[in-house]
Amino acid sequence: MKRPIREHRARPNLVDCKLKCPLDFCKTHDTLCANEIRIMKNKTENLKLGPYTFQSRLILGTGKFSNTETMIRAIEASGTELVTVALRRFNREMPDDDLCAPLAKLKNIKLMPNTSGAMNAKEAVRAAQLGRELSGSSIVKVEIHPNPHHLMPDAIETYAAAKELAADGFVVLPYIPADPVLAKKLEDVGCAAVMPLGAAIGSGGGLSTADMIALIIRDSSIPVIVDAGLRAPSEAARAMEMGCSACLVNSAIAAATDPAAMANAFALGVETGFAARNAGLMQKREIAVATSPLTSFLQ
């Protein structure tokens, strides 16, 4: 029995929302660190990945959906402008089985082929080139996981492939372990963003690597996108509050009871987190701040 599809309300346009703190107001706070000021300045800017800009900061994966129609509905409900699709799911010979063609038809959605299935840099480079040729998109998600069970990314091979593809003119987004040193090395070779994992693909483990992701964000000059592991929109919100530039979500949406509704919820989570980050979260304090200073007796 098919489940009835619910109506989804339009996502709120937070860009014009009063919740977002005007830049002038923020300037009056002299306690903001340089990093926060940088993010404040970016708040009205779009997500930039190489030459491309995106208003939405939610990126969707396209595997695991029960059918193409459900996938398309989820994409539409998410408001995303960038979706990733595995080259191994391109099937030009059988339209019913092809994920690429129905995605390519969507207006205002950019395709990002990924190299899932590649075991090493050589295979990933070849897959990226084929993906670019078939999809016409030069954005590539470099995904190399030699172990096909836990799907953990291979840092060494990913670095080699990313370096070669960036030099070849690709807009490279590497899926990586949450490793701050690797992230900087990938930035140095010309990657457009880095995509550290929050937890294992499909695990729903959430932001188990949060401390490392915070370090990556602190030192990165390119966007940091959490890719893999997110289960709930609140985790996406947390990633954005931490300073991530975007989130990539697949399993959490595809495995939800109502994928389109969950896609919409993730869009709200990402926007809420981003807005909160821009609004300037209050500092965490280990001790209560007394109304009357404890040291007022000191001369």
């Binding site: 098919k2 489940r3 595997g63 695991k64 959906f65 029960s66 059918n67 193409t68 459900t70 080259l87 191994r88 799911r89 391109f90 099937n91 010979e93 059988m94 019913d96 089985d97 299935g117 590649a118 075991m119 295979e123 070849r126 897959a127 084929l130 030699p146 172990n147 096909p148 069970h149 836990h150 799907l151 499909g202 695990s203 729903g204 399993s251 595809a254 495995a255």
Partner: protein
């Protein structure tokens, strides 16, 4: 008789008795192990089929999505020098033998391609002059021209031969141990190259070392005590996950079916029991693809789709050829789900599962 190596021997986990509470605890084990599997395969867990199914389904959705990968077998030859007591192609069966010529292989490939299938499993019996390495190699080369993923279920080979097959476009090998129980293995494999349990046991490791990317393992359910075989199978998988960490592994659950020799399974496994086994494996091996073939009935396959298995054969013939031509008269075993691709996919879609024809690309060779 030579003993099983320590890394494989299921002995420490046999003969355990499990209470209902212990089976319930195993169902929510955070780090499943041999003990968990033994508990989930125990009679106590038979009462937990519904919660086991729910857990298995949730894990399957999470790891593999709401999809079912499809593959199709193509029997190339029924010549076999083997003496497997349970097999319709054993050398003492009076079945007429057939082998596809390369021209006939091309005809079959064209017919399968027309059906939209992209993952092909090529099968033969044990090594014979009629269907030897060179014959299999040539068939792989032909198939790899048309199909993104070509795998084999033939006879154990040397590392060098597996390397040549990989170079020709072969992605994986299926090699069922049939039974891990040494005495039963000896009884069932009466003569021929398959008679040595240990030579067969080492084959997946050899194939993966030589460059094949995926090994499909399984035991033929019904031959021996299923608890013994399934615990050994689990341990075999766990061992390969450590020693062949870059390789893909899959597990199948073939049950003995009627065949022309009239072999009766000494340890028959009911459908209910088979379901319990599949759920238990899904819970204990959450990221390993589990496969179900057309040996099983349409009703059982429909029920199990998405519940634990994430990969199924479709529209299979177990006769030599049979897709593009009439095929031989007798198959290796009876196919119980005879639906065509369209009908089977319609069922999957009705269950909100996407049939995936292509999940690989020839570029990864």
């Amino acid at each position: 008789m030579k003993n099983l190596p320590t890394w494989l021997d299921p002995e420490p986990w046999l003969n355990g008795t499990f209470s209902a509470q212990e089976a319930q605890d195993a169902l929510s084990a955070e780090s499943p192990n041999e003990e968990t599997l033994a508990a989930l395969l125990s009679p106590a867990a038979m009462e937990l089929l519904e919660p086991m199914a729910a857990r298995a389904q949730a894990i399957t959705h999470r790891h593999f999505g709401r999809t079912t990968q499809l593959y199709v077998p193509l029997y190339l030859s029924s010549y076999c020098p083997g003496g497997c007591a349970y097999c319709g192609f054993a050398s003492d069966r009076k079945t007429e033998r057939h082998k596809l010529s390369f021209e006939q292989v091309e005809t079959e490939l064209a017919a399968l391609k027309k059906m939209g299938l992209e993952e092909l499993l090529l099968l033969t019996g044990e090594r014979t002059p009629q269907a030897d390495f060179d014959y299999v190699l040539k068939c792989v080369e032909l198939a790899a021209k048309h199909f993104h993923k070509v795998t084999i279920e033939v006879f154990p080979m040397s590392g060098k031969e597996y390397g040549e097959l990989a170079a020709a476009g072969c992605t994986g090998v299926t090699i069922y141990q049939e039974t891990y129980h040494p005495a039963t293995y000896k009884e069932m494999h009466r003569w021929g190259p398959k008679a040595d349990l240990f030579q067969r046991l080492e084959t997946p490791d050899r194939a993966l070392t030589a460059g094949l990317r995926v090994a499909g393992l399984g035991t033929l359910l019904g031959l021996s005590d299923p608890i013994f075989d399934l615990l050994a199978l689990y341990r075999h998988i766990r061992h390969l996950q450590k020693t062949q960490w870059k390789s893909g592994l899959t597990v199948s659950f073939p049950r003995i079916q009627n065949e022309t020799g009239g072999f009766q399974a000494p340890h028959p496994v009911s459908e209910k029991r088979l379901a319990q086994i599949i759920f238990a494996f899904r819970i204990c091996l959450p990221d390993v693809p589990l496969v179900l073939s057309t040996r099983e009935s349409a009703a059982f396959r429909d029920g199990m789709a998405g519940l634990g298995c994430n990969k199924m054969s479709v529209a299979s013939k177990t006769t030599v050829g049979g897709y593009g031509s009439e095929g031989s008269e007798e198959g290796q075993f009876d196919v119980n789900d005879n639906r065509d691709v369209e009908t089977f996919c319609a069922m999957l879609r009705e269950k909100e599962l996407e049939p995936v024809f292509k999940n690989w690309d020839a570029t990864y060779r």
